[in-house]
Symmetry: C2
Subunit: 437 residues, 2 copies
């Protein structure tokens, strides 16, 4: 893409005093635009990042055998009345009357709807276990939406649901998701800590939050630093291995301030290993057994022909929230650096262009076309602007690699820079091999 053609309304000044840096960056870099309180449009740059995150989430869900489907945004109130949550949910639920006067709502979560789909489709234990997921817009009518996409009203979320015959199998499904989540966050180059959590309005008796580290996070975290030594590639998607994985994580102290107890912390974790950090919740998983299946009468025949309520869990990842959370984790000293796996472009080509000298631009176009042939998605900064302004702009855009074409480059060697690192003079072949690795 040529930057001059990209729809990327970069702001010089922020319209108001946005409080957190991800919100500031996303507005400044033209990633999003607010359409109403807590409701955003995703402009091409932000959209691209979100789609890449979504794709990684999807691939890791597919890997553990979850099947993708899609439930609608608008639901009937009836199933929520069956579960008893229609009244419980309060004002955060966006309630709607359609033209016939029927009570509808914009789904804030989907336990009821998936249970209703499952109960009408599956009657026998033979079709278990099942894991279904979708990635869909949801709405929670926050009283005070703030922090951009971090606490907005319309948000994009992956939610998965597991269905099992008994608690043992259900715990195995839970562990698979646990494993999938850690792999997902690894691919996003995030340090994520799973923490035992309260179950809140979803309910149930087993739950973990996944919290990523960021200086500006909303939660205070207390942990034993040994938790960072657990290597995920020591485990496999097999029952015993996953049991061990969850045991290993659970045995190490890690809590948010809600569950924090100073005395316990000091007794369980040696002073040297104590870490106190800030973090952001990006995922939450629940095992709640028969909570919904019994209320909604989601029964299956077990091996003896007896009708029993299916055992369920639910598993959420905030896809749109992750865009903000990753910025909180990766935007340091006014310089953004996207993880390569989700960067909007793989490399930025930044030629020095002036009225009298368009040679570097010419070279830039040449390199751009060569990269394109190798399927490398580059952003060519073909805007006539001084280099200082260009670099400032690219500090916002955050593409992790840059090819800089100016005084330092020769006929066949170009300045190649990874953000945070020293630049090198390399041939195009050397640059290609770095980008393709």
């Amino acid at each position: 893409m040529y930057l001059s053609k990209l729809f990327i309304p970069i702001l010089k000044d922020l319209p108001s005093d946005e409080k957190i840096k991800s919100h500031q960056l996303m507005l400044k870099a033209g990633m999003i635009k607010q359409s109403a309180a807590g409701i955003y449009s995703w402009l091409p740059l932000g959209f691209k990042v979100m789609k890449k995150i979504e794709q990684i989430v999807r691939e890791e869900q597919n890997k553990i055998g979850a099947q993708e489907m899609l439930m609608p945004t608008i639901q009937s109130s009836e199933i929520w009345k069956e579960s008893g949550r229609y009244d419980d949910y309060g004002d955060e639920m966006l309630r709607i009357k359609d033209r016939q006067g029927r009570e509808m709502l914009y789904g804030p979560t989907n336990e009821e709807l998936i249970t209703e789909i499952f109960r009408s489709s599956v009657k026998s234990y033979k079709l278990l276990p099942q894991m279904l997921y979708h990635i869909q817009w949801k709405f929670r009518d926050e009283i005070r939406p703030r922090f951009g996409v971090m606490r907005c009203r319309e948000f994009y979320m992956k939610d998965a649901y597991s269905f099992d015959l008994n608690e043992e199998d259900a715990k195995n499904s839970y562990n698979k998701m646990f494993f999938s989540y850690l792999n997902t966050f690894n691919r996003l180059e995030l340090k994520a800590i799973p923490m035992s959590a309260d179950t809140g309005p979803i309910g149930g008796d087993l739950s973990h939050e996944f919290i990523i580290l960021a200086d500006t996070g909303e939660s205070q975290i207390y942990a034993d630093k040994k938790i960072f030594d657990i290597r995920l590639d020591n485990f496999k998607n097999e029952k015993l291995s996953l049991d061990k994985m969850r045991k290993d994580f659970s045995s190490i102290y890690a809590v948010t301030d809600e569950k924090f107890n100073e005395k316990e912390f000091n007794s369980k974790v040696s002073k040297d290993n104590q870490v106190k950090m800030k973090g952001i919740e990006v995922g939450h998983i629940f095992y709640f057994g028969e909570k919904y299946s019994s209320k909604l009468n989601c029964l299956i025949d077990d091996q003896n022909g007896k009708k029993i309520a299916v055992k369920m869990g639910s598993y959420g990842i905030g896809v749109s929230r992750l865009v903000g959370a990753i910025i909180e984790a990766k935007y340091q000293n006014n310089i953004m650096k996207w993880p390569q796996s989700i960067s909007p472009y793989e490399v930025a080509i930044i030629p020095n262009i002036s009225k009298n000298n368009r040679e570097y631009l010419k070279k830039g176009i040449e390199i751009y076309n060569k990269l394109k042939k190798q399927n490398i998605d580059a952003l060519l900064d073909d805007v006539e602007e001084n280099m200082a302004s260009k670099f400032k702009k690219h500090d916002l855009i955050g593409i992790p690699h840059q090819i800089i074409l100016g005084a330092k480059s020769s006929n066949d060697k170009f300045e190649f820079k990874e953000i945070d690192k020293k630049s090198e003079l390399l041939t195009l072949d050397q640059i290609l091999s770095k980008l393709l690795k």
Copy 2:
């Protein structure tokens, strides 16, 4: 995917008297499930097809330089009051009050919102032309939703918007979309006819519907059969070529019953060339100039520094509707055959399995694994069931190629069948080369 694991609730009987065949098939084959009147969940099989259609639509939009973004589903009423359509839209607009009592709505279309985004981002002719699109859920509160996904309330649609400095450029953007739409429908293996159309509630003075042929279509079409002789690959994405393309199409008689006039038809089209068919609208494009930009004050500086209203068009393709429309076009004599480009799986492996003989299943698994290594997405029918029932089921699922493992197959030759065609005995290598071509 093993069929025994796939979440595909195939129905033996239809719950009620669904009137059209796409609705019947989608329910029977477990592609969708109704969640409320005119609101559907997309189960894995249906979801996969819809996603493949979406991806083709996306690629063809990207090819003409349109940039993808994403607007939210919930909009503020304010911009609709600015355009004057808030009252015009009537009961089809799903109106919502949030917890603060603000008037919101579920977007039925996005002319207002995109204009609002554009006016706050682009101030100069230098950034023109621009084409932006998104693929998002929309809601129209139909008084009588029916025909499954063909006339539902929550539907998935690609809508694009063009912004140009003057009418000539705007017509060029219009022609690009015209070209993109025809390419899209070609890739979906559909015969689509562009027809000059009324502009309806969108407004404007130039508009085409794209209608695909299907015996059970809702619209009556009258055309000169010469329209099928126009070859799209004779044209390029360049101004003069696109001008000629639209002229070529426009010069040939093709209208729906709304504009039909028997006398005109007989005078313009020779008897031999007259075709009368049924069709389904799957796309609609509009050029409406300043209709929204002037009302919403979307002004840019032209080359002389004068502020002028930007010239706009809008361009829709019903992505969820296409799933139904393609079934209407391709489901014949109770046998579905998906176009290969959007088939949920590339090939079905159907072994004959009985209690006493699991040899064919074993062979099927072997073939499945070999195909997987070649990145061929196969569905292995590992269900123990007689072959007649299996074939009946696969007539619904509609995968265009089958590998049948039974009495006819030998140690190294297998029955390979393309739906509608005679089966052949082929080696796996021969099958592979057919599938990979």
